[in-house]
Amino acid sequence: MSRLRSTPLRLTATLVVVFVLFTLTGYATAYFVTRTSLSREVNARLEQTLATLRSIAESDEIRERIGEIAAGAQPRDMLMRYTEPGKPVLGNLPFPIRAASYSVIGHDEIPLPQSTMADSYIAWRGPVGKGRLTLLVGRDSLNELGEIFAKVLLFSLMPALLLVTAIGALVARKARDRVEAIRSTLARLTSGQHDARMVIAGNVDDDLEQIGVAVNRMAEAQEASIEALRQVSADVAHDLRTPIQRVAVLLDRLDDGSLTDISRNTVAEARAETTQIVATFQALLQIAQLEGGQARTNFTEVDIAALVTSLVDVYEPASEESGHHLEARVHGPAMINGDRTLLGRLIANLIENALRHTPPGRIQLTVDDSQSLVLSVIDEGPGIPESERTRVLQRLYRMERSRTSEGSGLGLSLVAAIAELHGATLILDDAEPGLIVSVRF
């Protein structure tokens, strides 16, 4: 069974994917919200510093204040440079930086020792008092945020994800095994093992267990009805065969040697009729039993080719007497799983049917093992017109046969029932001229 054909596994896979997408979306949202807020804070520090400086009117006081701020600031937090014509440059940024206001610049654009600096800065340039100010505010908090989120992702989300996948797989496997147990029990029931049951352990409220209970209940009912059918068949068989046996006994007593030839012939005819009654009755009973599917439990490996050869051998002299030439065309053994007696019955019925319904000519039995195993009986008789074939097959399967011909219809119905028991299909085809009856296993 392919992994994705299992519903529990598929559901778990979907669940894990949904979980991952949902969690990642949550993390991404949190990251962007926090980042926006931090970014706003950095900007606020920049604006605040600018506002402080702009609020001072005196140029000397501005210089003094810038000096104070620059002296107190870590390069990681803030860098500033103040130039005023004719006066010394102020601040902790010794070189001029070219950057647009509110743009972000990386530390690699600033020629200062890296270890003391932030990874990136937000820049501002413009006139303050009589000079020009370059102000850089460190964005380390934002960069750290990225790192923190990456760590969170690595140390908390990944293990959670692995855990979910592992537990999901475990739960799914367990569910799949139980579904598989239900499937195999049903398969065994279908194949005729009517005593196959689910093992019900533990919680009966669980939905899968309930299906198991339902399967068992169905199996019980099926077994009971098959047993009832068997019982009825047995009773009917007994009730009908006992009087037929009595008729046979009475006919035997009648035929004690004192009879005239005419009377003896009549007795022989009566005997033949009794045999026919039994044969018809037997076929009906057997079809009913086969449709119960029970014979499948007796299946063994059967060599169809050998069986065909055997039956052609049995029928060969009889077929020659009726002017037919019966031959088997088989190549080596052709094994199938089946019931040897029933398969023998199937082949015999096909041969008898061909002998009975075709004028003298050749009748071939072939076993083709090249793809699926196909047993065919090919005659040179009138065949069945294509338009009629489907109807003929339907009649066989529905057992609506003509009651007038000598048991032949029943014989083929039995063939159909035996084929069905073996999972085989009956096919009618044109042999140009003649009919091909094939059983495809």
Binding site: R241, T242, T274
Partner: protein, 223 residues
Amino acid sequence: MKILVIEDDRLTGQYLVDGLREEGHVVDLLTDGAQALVQAASGGYDVLIVDRMLPSLDGLAIVRTLRGAKAPVPILLLTALDGVEDRIEGLNAGADDYLVKPFVFGELSARVAALARRPPPTEEPTILRARDLEMNLVTRRVTRAGKAIDLLPREFALLECLLRRKGRVQTRTMLLESVWEIHFDPQTNVVETHISRLRGKVDKPFEQELIETVRGAGYRVQA
């Protein structure tokens, strides 16, 4: 032989008793299952003929009980059921043979004779003989009155089957079972045609008929 017939249908039962007595057997007839089990177990019988459906105790149960008690007596089960399953069930229960109703007496008599325990031959014969016919199982040559007879493999097998059970009747179904290993009653006269071909080679060129038809039963090679 001493035979016990367990059959609830009186007409059929009496028919069996009459036929078997005529053949010189000592026969008891019982109609009740439970009573029959006691009688069968107390022993002394060479063969039991048991109907499968009986009042008070099922025929199959009788067979199982006797086999459970390790009774070695050969049992022929008579039955109205002829599904593959029923046959297997009957044989699994411990019956030695299985005969489906309605049967003719000849078939039953032949099967009873086949069932009777005989001491196994001390060694496998290489040559089977009947009157002036000889069959060599090693060289697979058949001669009659010194003249070689050419047989097809299945004709050889058929004749071998009759010779091995020389003096006893072989029914059509028994022959189908031993020569072709097929368990069924064919509608057409397949066995008759085989026998008639065999006769064409074995009997026709000679004065005396070797393969005898037993009416209502089967065929026999006289001892």
